[in-house]
Amino acid sequence: MDIRSESGGGHHDAGAVHLPAPTAWPMVLALGMALIMTGLVTNGVIGLLGLLLTVLGSVGWFRQVLPVEQHEAVAMQAEQIQIYSTRVSVDRLAIAPSHRKILPIEVFHITTGLKGGIAGGIAMTVPAAIFSLIKYHSIWYAMNLLAAGGFVSWAGASNAFLAQFHPEGLLAGLAIHIVASLLVGLLYGAVLPMFPWKPILTAGFLAPLVWTGLLYSTLNIVSPILDERIDWFWFIMSQVAFGLVAGFVINLQAKVRTAQFQALPFAVRAGLHSDATLKTEERDTPQ
C-alpha cells in the first residue's frame, strides 16, 4: 500500500523529522476483519458491521498514502549523548603463532583443478597400460577392469574376456575415468595451496596413499570384480603418476586472491611488505 517515502522512514529539515503520521485506519481495518470473522461464529449483523468497518478502514488507509503519504513533523530535542566506554583497557587474547589458522591468501582458479585433472588422468593411463601389457599382454585389460564395476553381467568374466576389446567397456571405462579424474583434479586444486611444504611432492604421494587406503577398504562393495583382480602395486603407481602430474600442472597456473587477501594490511597488499604470512600472524581481532 504505502510504497515510498524518503529513505530511512523519514527525512529531516531544520530541527524537525518527518515521520509517518499516526492513523487509526489500520486498526479500524483490523477490527473490521476481526468482526467479519466474529460474525461467522455469532451473528450476521456483527459481520455486516465488520464489513462496513473494513470498507471504511480501507478507504481511510488509502487516503493516508495516496496521492501522497501523510507525514507529521516531530521536533528534535537537543540532547547530547556521550558514547564512551567505562572500560579503559583492551585485552588481546594471547595466541601463539602456531595457533593461527592458516587460510590461503591465494587459491587456484576452479578451471586449474580441471586442467590438472585432465593432465593427471592422461598420465595415469601410462602405468595402467604398462601393467596391462606386462601382466596380460593386452592394452585393454585395465580399462575393462575399471568398466566392470558398471556392468553386472561382467561379474564372472574371465581374464581372457577382459583382455579383449569391448566398445561398451571403452565407453564405460572412459566415463568413469574422466569423471573421477576431473573430481580429484578439483580436489587437488582446492587443497594444494594449503600443503605447507613442497605441495607437489607431499600432495603427489600423500593423497594417492590416502585414496588407496580408502578404496582398499571399500572396493569390494563398489566393484567386487575389480577388487578380486586388482594389483595394488600398479594401482598405487598410477595414482602417484596422477598426483605428481596433476600437482605439477596445477602449480604452473596463476593463483587468484581470496577474500582473506582483502583483509590484509594495505602495505602487504600493495607489495611494500613481501612477507604476507608474517603479517597475518600479527593481525588479530580484539576478541
Binding site: 522512514g9 529531516h12 461464529v41 488507509w61 549523548i81 572500560r87 580484539p286
Partner: protein
C-alpha cells in the same frame, strides 16, 4: 564523543490537560500510533498478559495432576485448558513477544527511523491482537464438545476428524480456527515488514555482512514465516470450508484424509518451533558477547548455520507423525533430516561457548539467563535427537516424555532467552534498569522450579504416562513424580510474580539507565533510553559489525579487521 542534535525551532503545542483528558490523549496516541517502538511495546505487553493467562491455565492443570484421582477440574474443562494453554502460548505469547522485540530492535539496530511499512505494522499488530481476543471470547460465547463447554477443546494441533462438525458441534472449534487465522494474517504482515525493513532500510554502510546477528536471525525467521505460516492459513481455510460450506477435505466419510491435516499442520508446526527459537538465538548472539566482553565468535558460521537451520527445518515435519506409519522410506528420511538439523544447531552452541571462552564474563541477571539457556538448550536438543529415531519415538510419542522435551525447548531455551532479553533491553525501552537483586531471585527460583518440573517430567513419560490425560490412578507409580512436577510449577509461578513486580517497581523507581548501561556495541545504544520517535537525530553510518566499539576505541576500530 557525543551526539549534537540541532535545537528544535518547532514550538511545543501541548497544552495542559485535565487528568481524564490526559488519559484519553494517551490512549489515542497508542491506538493511532505507527511508531515501531510503540507497536513493539504493545506486542510485548499483549503477549505478557496472555502469558499470565496461559500460565494460570498451566497451573490449574498441574494442580489437577498433582495427586491421583483428583477432581479439581472436570475432564471437559481439562481438555479446554490444555487446548487453550497450547494455542495461547504458541500463537498469542511466543509469536507476539518475539515480534515485539523484533519490531522494537530491528529498525534501531540497522539504523533506521521506522519499519518499511509503518501502517501495515500497526495493522498486523491489531489483527493479531483481535485474533487473541476472539479466541478468548469463546469462553463467553462458544459451545463446546459436549454441548455444555465453551472454549475450544480439540488440542492445539486440532487433528481431523475430531474437528469435523459431527464431533465438534457448536462454534468452539470455529473460534480456534478463526482466532489462529487472524493471528496468522498478522504474523505474515509483520514478517513481510521485517524482511523488507532489513533489506531496504539499512543505514549507510550497514551491509548484510555487517548486520547484527539478531537482525540476521529475525530476517531468516521471517523468511521462514512465509513458507511455514502460510500453509497453516491454507489448512485453516480448508477446515473452514469443511465446517461452513460442507466440504470434504478432512472428512474421512467422503474419502477425505485425516493424515493430510497432520501433514499440513506439521508443515507449519515444526518450522514454527524454529521460528520461535531463532529469535531467542538472536538474543543470545547479542547478549553473550556483550557480557563476555568479546566479539561473537564465528560470525559467518553463525549466519550460515542460521540459514542452514531455516532450510533444513522445512524438511523435518513428519517426525511428529512417525506413529502414523509412513513407511520405512519416509521414516528414514525424516529421521535423517531431523538428525542433520542438529549439526548447524551444534555449530551455534560451540560458537557461543567459544565466545565465552577466555572472555571477561559478567554475571548480570541477563547473562545468567543466557548461560542457563545454553545448558538447557543442549539437553533439549539431546532429547530431540532421541525422539528423532523412529523406533524410539514409537515408544514415547504422545507421552509426557514428549511434553517434557518440547517444554525444555520452549521454556528452558526460548523463555529463558526472553527473560534474558527483558533484563538486557528493558533499560532501553523504559530508561530504567531492572533491579538486579530481584532479578537474581527471579533467576534462581525460576531455574530451580524449571528443573523440578521439566527434568522430572521425562520420568512419568518413560513410565508410560500419556499426555492430555485428565487424571490417573494411584497404583501407576506416577504420583510422586507428578507431585514434584507440580511443586516446581508453583516455584516458577512465584518467580514470574517477582519478575512482574520487578518490572513495575523498576519502571517507576529503578536506577536510571542512561543511553548505554551495558557498554554494548550495537546501534540501539547510541540513542537515548527510551529513544525519541525518530530514533536517530542523524542517521548513523557504520563501518563494522560493532559500530559502538569503533566509537569507543577510535584508536583501534573493528573495521580494520573485517
Amino acid at each position: 564523543m557525543a551526539t549534537q542534535t540541532p535545537v528544535s525551532p518547532v514550538a511545543d503545542r501541548t497544552t495542559a490537560l485535565r487528568p481524564s483528558g490526559r488519559m484519553l490523549e494517551v490512549l489515542h496516541e497508542w491506538v493511532t500510533t505507527v511508531d515501531h517502538k510503540k507497536i513493539g511495546l504493545m506486542y510485548i505487553a499483549y503477549a505478557l498478559v496472555f502469558m499470565l493467562i496461559a500460565g494460570v491455565q498451566a497451573l490449574l492443570m498441574r494442580i489437577q495432576l498433582a495427586v491421583p484421582n483428583n477432581h479439581f477440574v472436570s475432564p471437559q474443562e481439562f481438555n479446554r485448558l490444555f487446548t487453550m494453554h497450547g494455542t495461547t502460548m504458541v500463537f498469542f505469547v511466543g509469536m507476539p513477544i518475539l515480534f515485539g522485540f523484533g519490531n522494537y530492535l530491528v529498525p534501531l539496530m540497522i539504523g533506521a527511523r521506522d519499519m518499511a511499512f509503518p501502517r501495515l505494522n500497526a495493522f498486523s499488530f491489531w489483527i493479531a491482537g483481535f485474533g487473541g481476543l476472539l479466541l478468548y471470547f469463546s469462553y463467553f460465547a462458544g459451545s463446546g464438545l459436549y454441548a455444555a463447554g465453551t472454549a475450544p477443546d480439540v488440542g492445539w494441533f486440532a487433528y481431523a476428524p475430531l474437528t469435523a462438525r459431527a464431533f465438534s458441534p457448536g462454534h468452539s472449534t470455529d473460534y480456534w480456527t478463526l482466532g489462529v487465522l487472524l493471528s496468522g494474517i498478522g504474523t505474515i504482515g509483520t514478517a513481510l515488514n521485517i524482511v523488507t525493513t532489513t533489506i531496504c532500510m539499512r543505514c549507510p554502510g550497514m551491509k548484510m555482512s555487517r548486520m547484527p546477528l539478531l537482525v540476521w536471525l529475525y530476517f531468516v525467521t521471517c523468511c521462514m514465516v512465509f513458507v511455514a505460516v502460510s500453509p497453516l492459513t491454507a489448512a485453516q481455510i480448508m477446515l473452514m470450508i469443511d465446517r461452513y460450506l460442507g466440504g470434504h477435505f478432512f472428512d474421512t466419510q467422503a474419502g477425505g484424509s485425516a493424515v493430510l491435516w497432520m501433514h499440513f499442520f506439521w508443515i507449519f508446526g515444526h518450522p514454527e518451533v524454529y521460528i520461535l527459537v531463532l529469535p531467542a538465538f538472536g538474543f543470545a548472539n547479542e547478549i553473550i558477547p556483550v557480557f563476555s566482553r568479546k566479539a561473537i565468535f564465528g560470525y559467518p558460521a553463525m549466519v550460515g548455520a542460521t540459514v542452514g537451520i531455516g532450510f533444513i527445518s522445512l524438511s523435518v515435519w513428519a517426525h511428529h507423525m512417525f506413529s502414523v506409519g509412513l513407511g520405512p522410506g519416509a521414516n528414514a528420511f525424516f529421521t535423517f533430516a531431523t538428525m542433520v538439523i542438529s549439526v548447524p544447531t551444534g555449530i551455534k552452541i560451540f560458537n557461543w561457548l567459544a565466545t565465552l571462552w577466555g572472555g571477561n564474563i559478567h554475571f548480570t541477571t541477563s547473562m545468567m539467563f543466557a548461560v542457563g539457556f545454553l545448558f538447557q538448550f543442549l539437553i533439549a536438543g539431546l532429547t530431540g535427537i532421541m525422539l528423532s529415531v523412529a523406533p524410539f519415538d514409537w515408544q514415547l510419542t504422545g507421552s509426557y516424555f514428549v511434553v517434557a522435551h518440547f517444554h525444555y525447548v520452549l521454556v528452558g531455551a526460548i523463555l529463558f532467552m526472553i527473560f534474558s532479553a527483558f533484563y538486557y533491553w528493558f533499560p532501553k525501552m523504559s530508561g530504567r534498569v531492572l533491579v538486579e537483586k530481584l532479578g537474581k531471585w527471579h533467576f534462581w527460583l525460576f531455574l530451580i522450579g524449571f528443573h523440578l518440573t521439566f527434568d522430572f517430567m521425562h520420568i512419568p513419560g518413560m513410565l508410560g504416562m500419556p499426555r492430555r490425560i485428565y487424571t490417573y490412578e494411584a497404583d501407576r507409580g506416577w504420583a510422586m513424580w507428578n507431585m514434584i512436577i507440580s511443586s516446581g510449577a508453583v516455584l516458577q509461578a512465584i518467580a514470574i510474580l517477582i519478575f512482574v513486580y520487578n518490572m513495575v517497581w523498576s519502571y517507576f523507581k529503578g536506577p536510571v539507565a542512561g543511553p548505554d548501561p551495558w557498554d554494548a556495541w550495537t546501534l540501539e545504544w547510541t540513542t537515548t533510553s527510551p529513544p525519541p520517535a525518530y530514533n536517530f537525530a542523524v542517521l548513523p553510518t557504520v563501518e563494522s559489525r560493532r559500530p559502538l566499539w569503533d566509537l569507543k576505541h577510535p584508536e583501534d576500530p573493528d573495521s580494520n579487521y573485517e
